[in-house]
């Protein structure tokens, strides 16, 4: 597991499609992951995340498309020969084998000599801080410990790629956060090209170099976390990641949009276009007593979150705005809220 042994490999997925009967699990997905990069695939349940990972790992054969690792096409290679480490959604530890034998398994299958297996297993257990747990069975470990065994087993044989399918789904919040840090630390240290699946957007934002947002078997957007959060490509991405206010209207001037309720707002980034647009304003960009783009309304809900207050403001029949800020305002109060022209992100096209 010495760092110099780890090969740098990039992953390319080209037009991969997979159907199960009438269900299109993947509808022609393409993406590439640079060597040493940590890419997260984020998407709702049933969006095809696991299917994509299984195609990369070789457990499912795609109906169309190719998978390339480090420049070599592995689409037709059997999973046993791909040298890819994978952690399953439910860990898939072998319950009849001790922790040490679980971790030794991939080395045994590769015919590594006994003495070297012992050495590398001990090293891998140290890497995930499980020294002394070698003789235990998986059923005698906590969820977090099982998770770490699965991780050790997936990296002990110097894989060219690490795939993680919602590895923290079953863990409580605190353990989740510490495991997130641990995985990131391990991944950096080993320089492993990693694809990580989650449907937890917070987790995706914290961990990733880049995020790919998936829905209905297709990738909606791929980019750095701040790019995805600040400049989502469409409504789905905007609403899936973080909370959002989406204002619908028509471009009236190079810097003005007339909203469907009749209010006119000033925004940047219209680039002289015309037609219908949606404006995304994140709740933390909405401010009480803003100087520009003002809406007046009544507070219908006020929630104290600890680090901030979240307010729901009704500005017209059926139109409510979310505001996140530091001011506590009671329910029922009349307020004026608004946003700065540069804080609205413009989404074009029909929604």
């Amino acid at each position: 597991m010495a760092a110099q042994e780890v090969r740098d490999a990039d992953l390319r997925v080209d037009g991969v499609a997979k159907r199960y009967g009438a269900v299109v699990a993947l509808g022609g997905v393409s993406l590439s992951v640079a060597a040493g990069e940590f890419l997260t695939i984020l998407g709702p349940s049933g969006s095809g995340k696991t299917t994509l990972l299984k195609v990369v790992a070789g457990f499912e054969f795609p109906d169309a498309g190719r998978v390339t690792v480090g420049g070599a096409d592995i689409t037709d290679v059997s999973p046993a020969k791909r040298n890819i480490g994978m952690v399953f959604q439910n860990y898939a530890l072998f319950p009849h084998m001790s922790v040490a034998r679980n971790i030794a398994f991939p080395l045994q299958m590769r015919g590594v000599p006994k003495s070297e297996i012992d050495r590398r297993v001990i090293q891998a257990m140290a890497l995930v801080e499980l020294q002394g747990y070698g003789e235990r069975l998986p059923s005698q470990l906590s969820g977090g410990q099982q998770q770490r065994v699965a991780l050790a087993r997936a990296v002990v044989f110097d894989p060219t790629l690490l795939l993680l399918d919602e590895p923290f789904g079953a863990l409580d919040r605190k353990l989740r956060e510490s495991m997130q840090l641990e995985v990131r630390r391990l991944q950096r240290r080993l320089g492993l090209t990693t694809v990580f699946i989650t449907h937890d957007q917070e987790e995706a934002l914290v961990l990733s170099d880049r995020i790919a947002v998936m829905d209905g078997g297709a990738i909606r957007q791929i980019g750095a976390p701040d790019e995805i959060y600040d400049r989502p490509a469409d409504d789905f991405v905007a609403q899936f990641i973080g909370e959002s206010n989406l204002l619908v209207g028509e471009i009236a001037a190079p810097d003005r949009v007339v909203l469907d309720g009749g209010t006119s707002v000033t925004v940047r980034g219209l680039d002289g276009g015309h037609g219908r647009v949606r404006l995304l304003v994140r709740p933390e960009k909405m401010a009480i007593d803003s100087a520009t783009n003002r809406f007046t309304g009544t507070i219908v809900e006020a929630v104290y979150l600890g680090e901030a207050h979240k307010l729901r403001v009704k500005v017209a029949e059926g139109v409510e705005l979310l505001v996140r800020g530091h001011r506590a305002v009671p329910t029922g109060a009349r307020v004026t809220v608004g946003f700065a022209p540069e804080d609205a992100h413009v989404i074009r096209g029909a929604g």
């Binding site: 299984k54 790992a57 070789g58 457990f59 059997s78 999973p79 046993a80 020969k81 791909r82 040298n83 890819i84 480490g85 994978m86 399953f88 959604q89 439910n90 898939a92 072998f94 319950p95 009849h96 084998m97 398994f105 991939p106 299958m109 590769r110 069975l137 998986p138 059923s139 087993r153 044989f157």
Partner: protein, 264 residues
């Protein structure tokens, strides 16, 4: 304080009754096997080991016993060898007509044994298999296969296929994945299947009668004995059979526990 509900009490009472009913034959058979009388008589007038001695010293009894053991072991081996791969095919592969094959593999249970025996007699007579011990073993395999398939299919349906995928991903060939990961985990099913196959053959009378020729299996010999002479030897043999089956059951319980889960 835990409240005892009447429903539970009723259930417990019923369970005890069923157990007693099932044990009753033992309460008769065991005492008779130690009887000092010359005839089947209950309760026995006195005690002796004469019937066990007679059994163990009589080639007339021991030869059929060895034959039955040999046939039962061959049946166990054969039906596992055929049944386990069949169960894998039925649970893993997706192919046209799979359900039909699964139903068909139950056919030997559904067809009356007599009918099956007559059909097999015709076939085996042509193949010159009548009277050969392996002929009986082959026929018994046919009868045992449905049990093996049902039990192993159930075991495989419970088994998490991701385990096998994980093994493949970690570098195991399909064979080694099955050998190191799947089979150890479905061991309880395999042990049960082996046990059922063994017992179903060891205890089988009808097919053995048709196909045995001059060779006698233990059940056939017991049947003849009852018709001709009735003496308590048969009780001694029954007692020994019960001990053998119980020992096998105990072994099955010992080795058929779920893999790697002590304390569960």
């Amino acid at each position: 304080m835990r409240r005892v509900r009447p429903g539970r009490l009723l259930l417990a009472g019923f369970a005890v009754l069923v157990c007693v009913f099932l044990q009753l034959p033992l309460l008769i058979v065991f005492p008779i096997s130690f009887s000092s009388a010359q005839y089947l008589q209950f309760p026995p007038p006195g005690w002796s080991l004469q019937w066990y001695e007679r059994y163990l010293n009589s080639p007339n009894w021991l030869t059929p016993t060895w034959l039955s053991l040999k046939v039962a072991m061959a049946t166990t081996a054969l039906s596992l060898l055929l049944g386990v791969p069949l169960a894998f095919g039925l649970t893993r592969a997706r192919f046209w007509g799979r359900d039909a094959i699964e139903k068909l593999s139950m056919a030997p249970i559904i067809v009356p044994t007599i009918v099956l025996s007559i059909a097999l007699y015709g076939l085996f007579a042509n193949l010159k298999l009548i009277g050969a011990w392996y002929g009986i073993a082959i026929a018994h395999t046919l009868l045992a296969l449905p049990f093996v398939v049902v039990v192993v299919v159930a075991g495989l349906r419970d088994f998490d296929v991701n385990q096998e995928l994980a093994a493949l991903g970690l570098g195991a060939s399909r064979w080694r994945a099955v050998w190191h990961v799947t089979l150890p985990q479905i061991r309880p099913s395999l042990v049960s299947a082996a046990f059922l196959a063994f017992i179903s053959s060891f205890d089988e009378l009808v097919v053995a009668m048709f196909l045995g020729g001059a060779n006698m299996t233990l059940p056939k010999k017991m049947f003849d004995n009852i018709r001709m002479e009735i003496d308590p030897t048969i009780a001694a043999i029954s007692a020994l059979q019960i001990v053998l089956v119980s020992a096998l059951l105990a072994l099955a319980a010992r080795f058929g526990r779920g893999g790697g889960m002590p304390g569960r």
